[in-house]
């Protein structure tokens, strides 16, 4: 029997929705206090969900672990005690740099329980990317594994605020702990499993994700405990999570999708989720859906396009009939992928749109209404988007412009860490300016047009060209660098760098590879240029600014536009 969606009547819901009603569905801590970890896990101990599986974990090596909400609550309380014993306090920044293992989730929840701010880091980050984030946030504690710690070892002397490193040693390797390091397993064995969750207010800072912009280094996007209202409501109505669902989000918790919808959203709805440690593998992914009878699946357009490349025959070998609903996020989902999902997987992918800064899904395609393939969907109830002109005034349907949102939804970011002026600059004329360009049609569906700036979207990861250029020019051979996004059928954009060399250096394939390795090590495997082209000089304005726009136009064979400021 087909299940009724949680959101049965979009127009009615949009008309009548109030965030106050969502607040009543959360338990709160008393005296108006709110803590994400309590809403996600501990409150379920008062109900029959206590013994329900919160997650089923499968490791890359096939090892399986299941944690009930009770076990997850106890483990995270134990970890909260570990942190408290180390001297971590409310407001401190605690970062976790782990593969997708149970200890990552326990660490996130334990950190929130002491009222500290959790910063999840993607395990593919290189040393410089981790250092930048730990330094900027003045992180006090880092939770990591022996392998990942070795990868970034060189940075620790440059982090005066980092007091403790907690080593998670799942494989029981023979390691020696240095000064300032403790064993996760050792500390957890000593700690009590009861903890009085710190009575955080809804405006206390809770989660921090770094995001790239067009200029400068990545900025720390800060969310408050109030964000759980957004996570909970959107997981309920957009992901359409019901009590008996088995949910699988393929996003890593190092990215906001993997925390908002890989931790807080599903668990605040009391739903069991699958956690798979490994990365993309078409056959494995289908086998996970079959083995665990996944009913709701949240993934990304790059992954879907890769599945499409593996062909239509492969999914026929698996029983995917458990799937009831599937969503995607990170980049616009091309219409072909929506249609493929329906034809080959059995259900269409519902695209939705949001950002690190927005904390939760703001525009979506809902189960109850027709998908317009290629569209972001319609606003979530309680959310008011608009398309603005360059003067930040509203445009009518059909016109392209800046996608903007009326501020004040609960999961709206509260600041960029130590960059209040940049935060303030994101709000104009009473609107939050998203940085995306879009248009709205007559039915109220939104359509992505492009970025308003030069930020590159590669496989759903935003990469700032300035970051990559800065890393490039640190290479001894590089004089100047200009970085663009080049369209790619799988990952949307790949990063291409144009580089001029210093005197005495000669272009070669070997030098290209060396430069790529150099940048990959500094930043991450997502952020290094897949293609490098050597030029004698780069097009610059008379003031010396590299004209990325021109590089991109020439690369793509497009009109060059206004070149009046080009240095001749």
């Amino acid at each position: 029997m087909k299940q009724m969606p949680n959101l049965e009547d979009y127009k009615k819901a949009y008309r009548e929705f109030r965030w106050e009603d969502i607040e009543k569905e959360l338990d709160w801590l008393g005296d108006g206090k709110l803590n994400i970890a309590y809403e996600a896990v501990d409150r379920h101990l008062k109900t029959s969900r206590k013994n329900k599986a919160a997650f089923v974990f499968e490791g890359k090596d096939g090892a399986k672990e299941t944690y009930t909400f009770f076990e997850l609550a106890k483990s995270s309380s134990r970890f909260a005690n570990v942190l408290a014993d180390l001297g971590a306090e409310k407001g401190d920044r605690v970062f976790v740099f782990l593969d997708r293992v149970p200890e990552l989730y326990i660490s996130v929840l334990g950190t929130l329980k002491i009222g500290a701010v959790i910063g999840p880091l993607f395990s593919a980050f290189g040393p410089d990317a981790v250092k930048d984030r730990l330094m900027d946030s003045e992180a006090k504690v880092l939770i990591t594994s022996p392998r990942l710690k070795n990868k970034i070892e060189e940075i620790f002397n440059d982090l005066p605020d980092l007091e403790h490193i907690i080593i998670v040693n799942r494989d029981r390797e023979n390691i020696e702990l240095c000064d300032g390091e403790v064993s996760y397993e050792g500390e957890m064995a000593k700690a009590e499993d009861d903890f009085d969750i710190v009575k955080t207010s809804k405006e206390d800072y809770a989660v921090m994700h770094y995001t790239s912009g067009t200029t400068g280094k990545p900025k720390g996007v800060v969310h408050a405990h109030a964000a759980i209202k957004g996570h909970y409501a959107t997981a309920k109505y957009v992901l359409d999570l019901h009590e008996d669902d088995i949910y699988w989000c393929t996003a890593d918790p190092g990215w906001v999708t993997g925390t908002s919808y890989g931790i807080f959203g599903p668990w605040s709805n009391g739903v069991t989720q699958v956690i798979y440690e490994g990365g993309f593998n078409a056959k494995k992914w289908y086998s996970i859906i079959e083995a665990y009878r996944v009913t709701v699946w949240y993934t990304a357009p790059t992954a879907i396009r890769m599945l499409m490349r593996f062909g239509d025959k492969l999914p026929e070998k698996f029983d995917l009939s458990s799937l009831r609903h599937a969503c995607s996020v990170g980049e616009p989902l091309n219409p072909e992928a929506v249609v493929w999902g329906e034809k080959v997987i059995g259900i269409p992918f519902h695209d939705n749109w949001w950002q690190t800064e927005t904390g939760c899904i703001l525009i979506a395609n809902y189960p109850v209404q027709d998908i317009k393939p290629g569209s972001m969907g319609r606003p979530f109830p309680g959310i008011s988007p608009a398309i603005l002109d360059d003067g930040y005034r509203e445009l009518p349907p059909g016109r392209e412009g800046h996608l903007a949102i009326k501020p004040g939804w609960p999961s709206m970011f509260r600041t960029y860490w130590k960059k209040e002026d940049v935060y303030d600059s994101r709000f104009k004329n009473g609107w939050y300016i998203t940085g995306d360009k879009a248009k709205m049609d007559e039915d109220g569906y939104f359509w992505f047009v492009g970025r308003a700036d030069d930020v590159i979207n590669t496989a759903g990861h935003l990469v700032g060209p300035f970051e990559v250029e800065s890393a490039l020019i640190e290479h001894p051979a590089v004089a100047e660098a200009g970085v663009i996004g080049k369209p790619d059928p799988i990952v949307m954009e790949t990063i291409k760098a144009f580089v001029s060399l210093k005197e005495g250096f000669v272009p070669s394939e070997e030098l290209k590879h060396e430069i790529q390795r150099f940048v990959k090590k500094k930043l991450s495997s997502a952020a290094y240029p897949r293609e490098i082209e050597f030029l004698d000089t780069l097009p610059k304005t008379r003031s010396g600014k590299i004209m990325r726009r021109l590089l991109k136009a020439r690369e793509l064979g497009l009109p060059e536009g206004d070149t009046s400021t080009l240095e001749r």
Binding site: F280, N281, A282, M306, L314, K520, S525, Y528
Partner: protein
């Protein structure tokens, strides 16, 4: 060039690693930092370079550079 050398050239290009890092025992993920997108690109390049087809079941078992070279040699021999 033998199969290992040709595979090494592909891995150096796709993973931005040094030639000296690509040894038979090197693990694609843990030693060479290959993520799922990298693996996708590597297998596509290998198929093109050697004129073979790799199926998902086979590539799932690949952990090291040596595993990949063995698979390629097996495919070439049997075709």
């Amino acid at each position: 060039m033998n199969a290992f050398e040709r595979v090494r050239a592909i891995l150096v290009k796709e993973l931005a690693v040094g030639e000296s890092e690509v040894v038979e025992s090197a693990m694609l993920a843990d030693d060479l930092d290959a993520d799922s997108l990298n693996r996708f690109a590597i297998y596509s390049s290998v198929e093109e370079e050697f004129g073979i087809e790799l199926d998902d079941e086979e590539t799932m078992e690949i952990e090291t550079v040596g595993d990949l070279v063995k698979l390629i040699n097996r495919k070439i021999t049997s075709s």
